[in-house]
Amino acid sequence: MSSVIPLTEDQRDALQELLNISMGQAANSLAHLIETQIGISIPKIASVTPNELFGLIQQNDQAFYTRQSFLGDVHGEVMSVLSRKGLKEVAKLLEYEEPLSKEDVQETILELSNILAGACLAGLSEQLELNTNLNMPTLFAPHKATFSDLQWENSLVMEVQFDIEFSSFSMRVVFCLDHDSFNRLTQTLDELLG
């Protein structure tokens, strides 16, 4: 990720901590559902251009990708990268029966995106007292998608990773905010930091 982070050290620290709390809530929601422990990473925060974002998202072909937009006081996109490895085991934990159909796999991917990315965004919004509405996730293929239509010079990227114990499954969630939303976010963080 780019090293240019348009945040003060205190703002970055606060945002990282709020994300950490949101991730904990998200992981707990899923852990409760599948009765398995979820590992959570220390959130990473950076600023990237749309091209850098493309590189960040498209890491290999051994993954499924979803994106979902959110609107409200701040708006942007949430992109989730889910490993193909271990996904079947997670689907079984979500009580899908074998053999899994293509639809079962798609539902699992969308469900995981909704639970983890949705709970993360909801937790962050709640703590910052911001209103956000997350749209339904859709599957996408990064090599066919273009991020050049995103009218962002720089976007704030917040990246978190979840790992599901007893399976090789992992999932990265990347939140992207546009410039105006970034300004709103920093303003809110400054109010919080008092």
């Binding site: 205190d10 620290d13 606060a14 990282q16 901590e17 950490n20 709390i21 949101s22 991730m23 904990g24 809530q25 992981a27 707990n28 852990a31 422990q37 979820i38 959570i40 220390i42 703590q127 114990e165 930091l193």
Partner: protein, 121 residues
């Protein structure tokens, strides 16, 4: 006499929040650690009565600190304050000797109750 307290959390905001949540009727002598490695170094250098410990930290995480304390023997009372409150994680830290598990965002009344239960209040 002031209670010697070590607050270990990688977030400055979180350390500030923990310190602000301490009951004002108790006097504390507070040291801060920004990760588990720093926390272990402080524990090796000085004797603390109480450790308020985050789990998700760089270098050495909270579980690593608890493992170090278990191997070392006589250590501070540990209260874990973490956003990762999954049941399995709570069982792990309690098995490693933590006295209590508190969720983030920290509730000051819950912290006061915990300190009361541990005999500090």
């Amino acid at each position: 006499m002031a209670i010697s307290l070590l607050v270990a959390d990688d977030s400055k905001l979180s350390r500030r929040s923990v310190i602000k949540s301490l009951p004002p009727e108790i006097e504390f002598d507070i040291t801060e650690a920004a990760n588990g490695k720093e926390a272990i170094a402080h524990i090796q250098d000085s004797r603390y009565q109480l450790l308020l410990l985050d789990l998700t930290m760089p270098e050495v995480d909270g579980v690593g600190v608890l493992e170090h304390l278990r191997n070392q023997g006589d250590g501070p009372d540990v209260v874990v304050i973490s956003a990762d409150f999954q049941p399995e994680k709570q069982r792990t830290v309690m098995a490693l000797g933590a006295k209590k598990f508190l969720r983030k965002p920290l509730d000051s009344e819950e912290l006061a109750m915990t300190l009361f239960e541990l005999g500090y209040l």
